[in-house]
Symmetry: C2
Subunit: 169 residues, 2 copies
Amino acid sequence: MASKIRLEDRECPLSTTLGVVGEWWTVLILHDCFDGYSRFDEFEANIGLSSSMLTSRLKSLVEAGILERKPYQERPVRYEYALTDLGRSLRPVLVSLAAWRNAQLAPQERSMILVDSRTGREVEPVVVDAATGDRVDGTQYVYAAGPSAGDAMRKRYEGVANTHVEART
Amino acid sequence: MASKIRLEDRECPLSTTLGVVGEWWTVLILHDCFDGYSRFDEFEANIGLSSSMLTSRLKSLVEAGILERKPYQERPVRYEYALTDLGRSLRPVLVSLAAWRNAQLAPQERSMILVDSRTGREVEPVVVDAATGDRVDGTQYVYAAGPSAGDAMRKRYEGVANTHVEART
């Protein structure tokens, strides 16, 4: 049964995102794109993924509107892959993934760091509420059923809301 | 060759994180845990994963130090799974994943939203530099080789640094 579930069909936004980036290789390709790489041979060399797997992953990313494939050379025609606006909007996902690991390492133990390119200063990325600037990893920030939640989602969060309220009082 | 690469062995922090959470099902289990669910039968009902797959995923999460397995009942003994501090620190990753999808939907189209439980107000999660509060998805924030980068990582970011500098001037 598990293999028949199409995560994209579920109404959970987390599942929908995972339907697009829920593959290690896909995230590594996006990492390359964000770092300025765009060509098939660059991805192949950096990621160590077989040519057929890489072809298939790039195709999925183009179909999902994350990457755009465009010619950069005629005779023979050669294509490169560029992030679309939708693809660029995945940046916080990649930053959060890398930040989790780096947070377990002392600064001098880190191999790859996020820096402000104007100053070279290392940046510590945190997720905050855009309205208040408060960090959203505190327990007062919880998921809840949204306006278009179906029955299953409402049921899921009825119980959770009670649990959270009890835990907090 | 691709199948022989152990991503955990790579020095990239993104790959290391993916070595732990780079599986759809794993992220869905963590989502359940953050929402207050803790028992095997709850995960099974919520996620729709087969019992053997779920057992294996939970075991990996316990081994990775993300979840802790502890008895909640004697005779017969029953176990529940709780997030460790390390597991809890994955919260920004899940929040970023869900936020990406929700950002493509109008507020009234959303099925699952992050709210401030004190007020019920929906929160828009953004990733910022902890020191300045500036959003880090702008192009001035780039990855660079860190203090313990090996040759491959240094080489990767030598080229990228130049690209970025050229693109920006």
